[in-house]
Symmetry: C2
Subunit: 247 residues, 2 copies
């Protein structure tokens, strides 16, 4: 069941309007909605908490990209608002390495036993060596240091991307820039996003489109990730992007 997202995040009113026939479990990425990059607003957080309380529902909070915020104070996790109605998930896939396959859940007490049993049935548990290494890394404050260092690196890349977009595509008004490792550039209405992506790929430019990650038809837009590209390459990439766009 897809629920629309606007510039404040999930339309909780649309979720609630589904009523008793609608879902009682909802999955959200409040820190940086994927793919739009929108941060779930304070009002929507309160509304989502009220929705869950009202229907005895459960919110699955995937806190991905929460560690990388640039222009604003960190927003607390939704889980803190309603610990009995939210199962919080985090991982080191974006911050350290996806190959570690390590994450964590903070779940309501009443679900703990079932979750442990499900995990055991699923895979008999996660490898222990990385868990011990990560625990040590956390205890020594190394993850915090790593995040402070990489936050500055990613902010630099984001700033370089925003500046290059302003230079080469003035008026494109990127969104989702306050956090995370990608931003969104809307394309002119009527642009054939799929054809544009195919043409860019044929020219050796890897681009991702909003529609590839949307459940229902989405307006044409590009997702530009800057997590793995060094600052000097960003300017050249945006120049190549401009050439591949329709006039």
């Amino acid at each position: 069941v897809a629920v629309p997202v606007d510039d404040e995040g999930l339309r909780v009113d649309r979720l609630a309007a589904l009523g008793p026939a609608g879902p009682r479990v909802v999955m959200v990425t409040p820190a940086h909605q994927f793919p739009t990059g929108v941060v779930l607003s304070a009002g929507r957080r309160a509304a989502l908490r009220d929705w869950a309380a009202g229907c005895e529902g459960l919110v699955l909070e995937d806190d991905y990209d929460a560690e990388y915020r640039y222009d604003r104070q960190p927003v607390g996790a939704l889980q803190g608002l309603a610990p009995e109605r939210v199962t919080y998930a985090g991982s080191v896939s974006k911050t350290l390495a996806p190959g570690l396959r390590l994450g964590w859940l903070v779940a309501p007490e009443r679900l703990a036993e079932q979750l442990v049993a499900a995990k055991e049935r699923d895979d008999l548990g996660t490898p222990v060596v990385e868990q011990l290494a990560l625990a040590d890394f956390l205890e020594r404050g190394e993850l915090d240091r790593h995040l402070r260092r990489t936050r500055a690196v990613y902010r630099g890349r984001r700033d370089a991307l925003v500046a290059a977009l302003e230079r080469h595509l003035p008026g494109c008004a990127p969104t989702g820039v306050a956090a995370g490792l990608h931003l969104v550039v809307a394309l002119p209405a009527g642009t054939d996003e799929r054809a544009l992506l195919a043409a860019a790929r044929a020219a050796g430019i890897g681009l991702a489109g909003l529609s590839e990650h949307a459940v229902t038809p989405a307006p044409p837009a590009l997702l530009l990730g800057y997590g793995r590209i060094a600052e000097p390459a960003i300017e050249a990439g945006v120049r190549a992007l401009r050439v591949s766009l329709p006039a």
Copy 2:
């Protein structure tokens, strides 16, 4: 669907007798049937191959305990007899450490793509650090050296356990001794296995019973594991066991 096991392993005739209404996928542990410790005989291996060919079935071969054989030449994997009808599974959980959570499948070519997709859907893949370390360990021949060394250790423990059983429980005739890390001691017919296990536990002796691992009612028997017990402790353990058994 449970299929009986005798001293040659799975009763393939009973599996085949289930006919088209019976299962077309069968799970076996040919190297050391769990829990009886029986090795699947050459005749049964051929019969199982024929069964799978006849019904276009699939055999899931869990090759657990195959690395630890003591009194006989290694038996080849069932997979070698019918590579298009067998999916072979192995792991380092028994040989190196269960905490590594590493194993492998050798599957018919036609299933490879679906298996890769299922693995990706399930967990996005296994952590890479241990995989690289294990690959290096294998390439340098270290796993073979480790197995040769531990095979001698486990054989010593098995011999100590068999000798202690002969001394303290003459006539108990343990079975499943040719391979693996546990053997089976039948209890006199009519013994209440569950009561005996409870009494032993109350006396501080941890014992496992055959019925705990059987799908249908099984004759009373004990599973005695020697993977984690040093030789000097085995004699004392069997003496304590004798005391806890009914006269």
